[in-house]
Symmetry: C2
Subunit: 379 residues, 2 copies
């Protein structure tokens, strides 16, 4: 007799695309019933989202567009002034985040696949900043470009997050799919987490600033493909999720100068079979805070804080692409002490919590949606 | 649309009782295929098991008997010489463990429901030691008796474990079902973990030895009902599992003098509804290392070490009564970083790993069994 693997949590819901609030689906969870509302649709692989206030949102589409989405779900025209973006496989326009001083400087930061020359398939994950004025970007300035440029169109990373004090910008990167071993080196940006000032300059307390041959922008290394990041409210620490191979998606709390093990330690298997890595602790390499094995193809993550789901305060919410879900992890310091999974029927790319405590999800489809999670009995 | 809660892991197997090895059921897991073999049956609510060598086992039945089970599954006659045991509801004969020097002293330790007077329903969880000679106990000596005695027949705790160095005996207790608030006090044994020398005397470094009004046997407190305990091989630390109410079964690493929160902090609900406790961290109270919510009615636990399942080295294995399962938790230091569940169809009372790395389970039924987990491709 054989048993088939099954995922923790709740039966898949077969969510259908419905007008916001009108016919919201409901997920029952331990501490809250959750309404899943559709806020907007018609976005081409939406990847990043930032809240502009009054319900307006700034959204990127991997296909190379950035738009303002109104509170009623109306999509604006594409914002003009983006640099050249190489849209290919996993690459294109990726994340967007607002300057910590956005209300005064109107500056946004965004990540994208930057070609070596016009049309080239050799690209970097790059980060630019620009001033958003109406529906146009001005004064676009590239503040970071991953070294070296690579072909292949995979594992760009691309997630952006400012530190708790707004002083530093973190950039999550990947191994570009065929440079696994380079993730163990600090002489290139492959498979690293970057920490820079918002103007692209390097903080003097970065861990490899004084090491010969090391790139000073690097904060931590040994990452395969960082896809989600957020700041833990209670500590101000950055946490990050990254894709493992078929198994071994990781939640990490990257600390300065530490090695997160890829591809030496991982719980995963290479696509198509064959074990990768040893899966156990090694001197000088960190184990994750949590791992998902088999892989859910983890994507976004956010710490919950807000008034809509009071029992979830401080929990990690992490989303899956293949595993169409929101995983809710209860956290005590740097330990996960419980997991509960809310299953959806869409691939989820990103998750963000707004200042009112509502949760926004981006679905990863050619006709992608913005979903909103709200208490079921309040909608 | 509503989704029903579902448990992590693997489909239930509908295990049937079959002769050992002959028709073992198989559970597929991430790192191993596991054969579930029936070693013995006909035990009345087996509760504790100790390995005597050469495949022989010493097994307790809650109904008040202790027997030797031969390697071929043959049950011996009840061992004579037990003290009076009050068999009532959750109480009766509970755990058994061998002296660290058993090969020379032939001494065993066992826990049981000790009546105030013959036939009384007012009982303590007591621990006695005795010399096992053939099929009889001699020189029975009570080394511990929980204060105060209580009626009600619930939450006896009862699990026994020697420290890594064999110097100390830990005794897991419970709140006796209707003395919840006493679990916050160290002036009684209710809801505590006990640490004594094997002769019942109190170690001078116990945390409350010098505190007026405190009982010096107490190691930690605020426990609801400790059901399983084992020593982490890599650290020598004792870990324990305890029953929460409907939710909030806990895995803890009890440290000297600390308060594990019951009934002030818990993730659970009172049976029949109504939330108990606040579910969040409080100053001076420890959160668990892991919790199961909804409750699996956690019972035994063991750290895996051995040669049969090499990928599980150092993992916590915890069993459930209502949740008929073995939960496998991957551990890094004091953090759980992954859970995988093997679902069975029997209520499981206890789990032990033998020196060869085979895993033994006791099923909690009037016709209880000893099951053995072995690699599927080796049987």
């Amino acid at each position: 007799m054989k048993a088939l693997p099954r995922t923790l949590g709740f039966a898949a819901l077969g969510l259908t695309t419905l007008a916001m609030s009108a016919n919201a689906d409901t997920i029952e969870t331990r501490w809250a019933n959750v309404a899943v509302e559709t806020v907007a649709e018609g976005l081409e692989h939406p990847w990043g989202i930032a809240f502009l206030g009054n319900g307006r949102m700034l959204v990127t589409e991997r296909a190379g567009h950035m738009r303002i989405v109104e509170a009623d779900g109306t999509l604006g025209e594409p914002i003009s002034g983006l640099p050249e973006i190489k849209v290919m496989r996993q690459g294109g326009l990726m994340d967007v985040t607002l300057s910590p001083n956005y209300s005064s400087d109107r500056t946004i930061y965004f990540s994208y696949s930057e070609p070596e020359s016009a049309g080239s398939e050799v690209t970097s994950t790059a980060v630019a900043r620009a001033r958003l004025d109406g529906n146009a970007l001005h004064d676009v300035e590239v503040i970071f470009s991953q070294y070296p440029k690579e072909d292949g169109g995979r594992h760009y990373g691309g997630r952006l997050k400012f530190s708790a004090d707004g002083e530093y910008l973190f950039i999550g990167l990947g191994d570009r799919g065929h440079r696994e071993d380079d993730s163990q080196l600090v002489s290139n940006h492959t498979g690293t987490l970057i920490r820079i000032y918002p103007d692209g300059s390097v903080p003097s307390d970065n861990p490899f600033v004084d090491q010969d041959g090391a790139l000073p922008e690097i904060w931590s290394y040994g990452h395969r493909n960082i896809q989600g990041m957020d700041i833990q409210p209670s500590t101000g620490h950055l946490w990050a999720v990254e894709h493992g191979p078929q198994g071994g998606d990781e939640l990490n709390r990257p600390e300065a100068g530490l090695n997160y093990g890829w591809p030496v330690i991982t719980h995963g298997e290479q696509y198509g079979g064959g074990q990768v890595g040893i899966g156990f602790k090694q001197e000088g390499m960190e184990l994750p805070v949590w791992h998902w094995t088999p892989s859910i193809a983890v994507s976004g993550m956010a710490f919950y804080q807000g008034n809509q789901f009071p029992a979830w305060q401080g929990n990690v919410l992490a989303t899956g692409l293949r595993g169409t879900q929101v995983a809710r992890l209860e956290v005590d310091g740097d330990r996960v002490i419980h997991q509960e999974v809310m299953e959806l029927s869409d691939r989820i790319r990103e998750i963000k919590v707004d200042s009112d405590g509502y949760i926004y999800l981006l679905t990863d489809h050619p006709n992608g949606k913005i979903l909103r999670l709200a208490p079921a009995n309040a909608s």
